[in-house]
């Protein structure tokens, strides 16, 4: 019996070593591809005239959809901030999702809203809309007042009433860089097969923001938890999404900031209101929808447009957020498992989905079991101490390599944190991220499995607040 247990532990530890080798190799490959893409972007940036895209009356106009649930304190400054975007033709559609606070009153007072009669331009399901308002002081502001239905439902309502061919879905508490929209629109104009473009989301905690919701100076905060998330976001966006995007297999566009072609999203059925990960689910559905119809489908990630969002600064909110992201990911994979291994879906079905299922959905379970088996193996003498160290060291070393690579990439291309003190904090965070934070995150993601089956129920509609961002897994 003991021999059997020893053999099992040995085999499992060998499997885990292989698991880490493959996982880290994929990460390194994605970072390498990301490096190449960023270098090319940096080389092309000087002669790309993004300013003209923002100024030209012939650029594709954009509807910015802002779902708002009890956002009374921030909604007015958020709308004002969006209106300062350096982009010619845009409208801001605020969807008041049955708020119980003064969200609607604040908007009415600040923007002199007038009730109007509008016919929806698309047929997407959503909770009843009781009124449509337009600002008499700035006709670019439209407010929809509807019954509470969650973020996805609000976005569907916004899409129904959006006027323009592109829509940008953002969270009410996020800020856009003034030139961000122009750069995203540029992608649509440069390549007509583009269906959706995601932009990088960065953490605003610690930075200086003025009264109109505009970012004055970027800084890192003192708290370690937020700095860890800054490095994690960089790792996910610069280290993961650029790589996947370059391979044509991008599966996630941040719910906090993404630009979509309205007609294709409407045709695909809009946002799914029965999942907690509606942003990622939509992207996967768009891949499926377009490829089922044998159409070209370019869904890409652009590293420079920036959306700033607040990351959880306390552990409880952090755990809740990560739990929700993982559940969203699991639901998304469960719904679209039919794409798995199907040649028709190209790299998405053959590479990206298997990777996400094996390493992102099931990965946390493997990792926790692996750590447990490693410790048990050493304790019962099934594996040698050096072998256990090799497994652990491999994971930590490659983690550090990837974290530092994305810091290098950040310094090379974007330099959003120009101060030496910020760099020092990020270097420290890059260490801590690999020596405890990632492992903690793994535990939270395992917990999400438990939550999925015990707390919420499979596929059950979950009412979520609108303040949270999106999954940032690679």
């Amino acid at each position: 019996m003991t021999d059997v247990i020893h053999q099992l532990l040995r085999d499992f530890n060998i499997f885990m070593l292989g698991y880490f080798v493959v996982l880290d190799s994929v990460f390194v490959l994605l970072v390498a591809i990301g490096w190449r893409a960023v270098n090319e972007y940096v080389a092309r940036r000087p002669f790309r005239d993004y300013r003209k895209v923002g100024e030209s009356e012939l650029s594709m106009p954009v509807s910015i959809l802002v779902p708002a649930y009890n956002e009374g304190p921030v909604i007015v400054s958020s709308v004002r901030s969006l209106l300062t975007s350096q982009f010619g033709e845009l409208e801001v559609v605020v969807i008041n999702d049955g708020s119980t606070d003064d969200t609607l009153t604040s908007l009415m007072e600040a923007f002199d809203l007038v009730r109007v009669d509008r016919v929806p331009r698309a047929n997407l399901p959503c909770e009843p809309i009781s009124a449509v308002y337009v600002s008499s002081s700035d006709h670019r502001i439209v407010v929809l007042d509807k019954a509470n239905g969650g973020k996805a439902d609000s976005l569907n309502a916004g899409i129904r009433y959006a006027r323009y061919p592109l829509f940008c879905a953002i969270d009410a508490d996020t800020m856009l860089d003034p030139g961000a929209l122009a750069r995203l629109v540029w992608e649509f104009q440069a390549s007509p097969s583009t269906v959706a473009v995601g932009g990088i989301v960065r953490v605003v905690n610690g930075s200086e923001v003025d009264g109109d919701g505009r970012l004055v100076q970027v800084k890192t905060p003192r708290g370690m938890l937020v700095n860890l998330q800054i490095v994690e976001y960089l790792r996910a966006f610069l280290g993961g999404r650029i790589g996947w995007s370059r391979l044509g297999m991008l599966l996630i566009i941040s719910g906090a900031f993404g630009l979509f072609r309205r007609d294709v999203v409407v045709e695909a059925g809009g946002y799914d209101t029965t999942t907690v990960g509606e942003d990622a689910e939509l992207v996967l559905r768009l891949h499926r929808h377009q490829r089922d119809r044998k159409r070209k489908c370019r869904i890409t990630f652009f590293p420079d447009p920036i959306c700033w969002t607040e990351a959880p600064a306390d552990f409880k909110t952090f755990v809740r957020q990560r739990d929700r992201w993982q559940r969203g990911l699991i639901e998304m994979m469960a719904r679209h498992h039919g794409m798995l291994g199907r040649k028709r879906y190209g790299g998405v079905g053959l590479v990206a989905l298997p990777y996400f299922i094996f390493f992102e959905v099931l990965g946390p379970i493997f990792e926790v079991l692996g750590y447990a088996a490693c410790i048990a193996g050493v304790l019962v003498g099934a594996i040698s101490y050096p072998f256990a160290l090799v497994i652990l060291g491999f994971s930590v070393f490659f983690g550090l390599l990837i974290s530092f690579s994305v810091l290098l990439m950040e310094e090379r291309a974007f330099r959003r944190y120009p101060d030496w003190q910020d760099l020092r904090r990020l270097i420290v965070a890059a260490f801590v991220e690999n020596l405890g934070y990632r492992q903690l995150n793994t535990l939270i993601r395992v917990r999400a499995w438990w939550t999925l089956f015990h707390a919420e129920g499979w596929g059950e509609m979950t009412r979520v607040g609108l303040e949270e961002a999106e999954p940032v897994e690679a």
Binding site: K52, S56, L58, E411
Partner: protein, 359 residues
Amino acid sequence: MSAVQATQLLAMLTGLGCVLMISFVLERKLRRDKREFVSQTSRGRLREALLAGDQDVIRTAAACACDDAQRQVDFAVTASGTVDELTEADRARLHDTVTRIGLVDSLIEQLRHRNPVKRGRAAFLIGELRVPKASELLPPLLADPDPDVRLVACAELGGIGTQAAALSLISGLMAGDVAPERIIERLGGAWAVPSLVSALEDPELARSLAPGDDEPSERWRPAVARALGVAADPRAELALARMLDSPHTEERVAAARSLGPSGTEASVAVLIKALGDPAWEVRAQAAKSLSAHPEQRAVPALEERLSDDAWWVRSNAADTLATIGTEGVTALKRALSHSDRYASERARETLALHRLVEA
């Protein structure tokens, strides 16, 4: 190997790796800081030299820009805007200096390079320097396989702003390698108006601009009309007014739209006539364009359009009425009791949105 030895070895390797990685990050930051400083300084110095005509500094910068990518970008970014401020004589001296030092030949060679980044950068600098030969060098790039290169060629031809550049862009419009909107926004300037009008009115010229031996398709004409609207130049008025009689709806739509910014009071009559066009898109654009020339004589026709079948026509007519002063507002108030519910709703909304009465 003992457990202790293994731990020590692993810790040592990881530590070494970490030190190396931190060094890389710090070195990158230092290098980038230095490069930005050098770049900023050299751009400032070059700008001063360009404005003062200091040929020594220009010569040095041009020599560096022949084969250094960053210097090429610095030169182009500095030249952007600055070269246009120079007198003809200063500009000629600048072109002479950069040609003598070999920069122009080097850039021409780079336009043929297989790396699209090099081609794009070279086109950018050639355009920003306003090199005399640019009008000949850049048009072939409108058909480049790389979209960035096509766009930079289009932008620089627009920046050069000569008749030759305008004709090249119109030709590009006919060829269809660049999205028409990107060409229209570059052609939308007073400098291009004579060429645009000639292309519309002279079939021989249009034929000569068409790529290949084929007759040009008619799809370029609405785009040219849009460009005339962006240019907002009254010299285009007559050609646009004539276009309103075209049998093609797209042309009439573009002409009605452009007569707003490019037309004068003389256009009001043709726009009023266009309010009766069979295509709702033309009626909607005509209603909108009339807001650029708010005249009382348009009120009856606009008031009639408040009960148009098309939502956009009703909406634009109401918005335009709101801009025509007392007569327009009176018409809107009259429409509040219109027998057509759509007309009265439109009037009510417009009056409220323009703060003319309470909603």
